[in-house]
């Protein structure tokens, strides 16, 4: 019996210009056909180009300009229930299905999975909720960048942004998880210190201490108008905070603090950003080399580790928290383990664990390297006993 199947094969072609790309695609189709058309049991009968996934005709710069225009529109609260409506969920899912890659990254030659759909013109500024022209598929990074004070939306229009949305720069907020004992020793008008930490499960954590470093409470980063605070501190903005009011309520002591932020140092941000992209590209190259040239991959992982440490060292205390690129320790130790270089593998893991990494690893990597370390210790013990 013979069955016929249709396979949808998504192919990525890289080239200097459209002509070169077309030629490469043709050559690829020819290669596939020549290789598999003559097979006896599983053979290709036809290959057709079905769709060319279009390049969205909006650039990062254009989006910045559009968002800036929107920011200048009067701000009104967003009706969050809209995002739970079946109409929106259907539209969003359909749009993501048709645009599987972040459209901004795709324009710049990178393929990153799209995570969410963004309204180019904000709904409260009269944007069409379901019109495809007003939608853009973005990855998490570009999406948060679009919304955050530190992202693509405003990086060229800082004055405009801060000028029109003063509440982001100066605001009061009620602290949560307060330590009543320490708080009872404070008074209105006292200066407090904000501590930014990138905690697992709460990446937007901003703690508050008194000037002696004693914990008072934490800023509620889930509060929509205040989540910019963590982003701003990450991007080097100087922040001053004072106690505005301490009051005794039914549930105990409550504290409201007043926060004043300064501008982000965009030059510093850009410098760091370029360096980080370089490291990220080297790590990707190392990943590709793992199968063909292990030694080179190991060297690249070690080099990028040194670069990240250098970046962390050069940056001020809290700036490292927004570094997106993680240490490649999980990959490096894996390659070393596969190469049976157990001692080196163990040394690399221990050296990483001694390092105070403020950004953490990707989810699950910490556990993986912990298990690998245990395995290495066992193996080295066995080898040692044999000798």
């Amino acid at each position: 019996m013979i069955y016929e199947y249709n396979l949808k094969v998504t192919t990525e072609v890289q080239g200097e210009n459209e002509e070169e790309i077309e030629n490469k695609l043709k050559a690829f189709k020819k290669e596939l056909y020549n290789k598999y058309a003559g097979n006896e049991e599983t053979r290709i009968t036809t290959i057709k180009k079905q769709i060319e996934i279009e390049n969205k005709k909006i650039s990062r710069q254009e989006l910045i300009e559009k968002v800036t225009y929107i920011i200048n529109a009067p701000y009104t609260a967003i009706d969050e229930s809209f995002y739970q409506s079946p109409e929106w969920i259907n539209t969003r899912d359909k749009y993501i299905k048709n645009n599987p890659f972040c459209e901004l990254c795709f324009n710049e030659g990178k393929n990153k999975k799209s995570d969410d759909v963004h309204h180019i013109k904000r709904l409260t500024a009269g944007g069409e909720p379901f019109a495809e022209d007003n939608l853009i598929a973005l990855c998490n990074s570009c999406h948060s960048g679009t919304h955050s004070s530190g992202g693509i939306a405003v990086e060229l229009n800082v004055e405009n942004y801060f000028g029109s949305l003063d509440y982001i720069n100066n605001f009061t907020t009620k602290l949560k998880n307060v330590d009543e004992k320490i708080l009872s020793q404070c008074k209105d008008g006292d200066n407090v210190i904000l501590i930014r930490e990138h905690r697992q499960g709460n990446p937007g954590y901003v703690g508050v201490t008194n000037t002696n470093g004693e914990y008072i409470g934490e800023v509620n980063s889930a509060d929509e108008s205040h989540h910019y605070l963590a982003f701003d501190i990450d991007h080097g903005s100087e922040v001053l905070a004072t106690i505005k009011e301490i009051c005794n309520k039914k549930n105990g002591l409550q504290c409201v603090i007043e926060i004043k932020k300064s501008e982000i140092d965009w030059e510093e941000y850009e410098r760091f950003n370029i360096k980080e992209k370089e490291v990220s590209e080297l790590i990707n190259t190392a990943k590709q080399l793992e199968k063909t040239d292990c030694e080179q991959a190991i060297q690249l992982y070690r080099k990028t580790t040194e670069m990240l440490i250098e970046m962390d060292r050069k940056c001020e205390k809290y700036r490292t928290t927004w570094r997106g690129t993680r240490f490649p320790i999980c990959r490096l130790s894996l390659v070393l383990e596969k190469q049976k270089r157990y001692k080196e593998c163990l040394e690399e893991i221990e050296s990483y664990q001694k390092y105070e990494d403020k950004v953490w690893l990707y989810v699950g990597e910490k556990e993986k390297i912990e298990k690998r370390k245990y395995r290495m210790l066992k193996l080295l013990q066995i080898i040692c006993n044999k000798q």
Partner: protein, 50 residues
Amino acid sequence: MIYEYELMIKVEVQGDSEEEIKKKLKAFKNELYNKYAGNKETRITMIKKR
């Protein structure tokens, strides 16, 4: 620059039973993917049965 395309590939699979054919198709998809996903300039990113 990188462009992405969807290719529709028709495949004929021969076998004695439906199960065998399914297995062969799966093996074929795996072979294609393993062979071309790691290419630098022209690479397969996804294969789906339509």
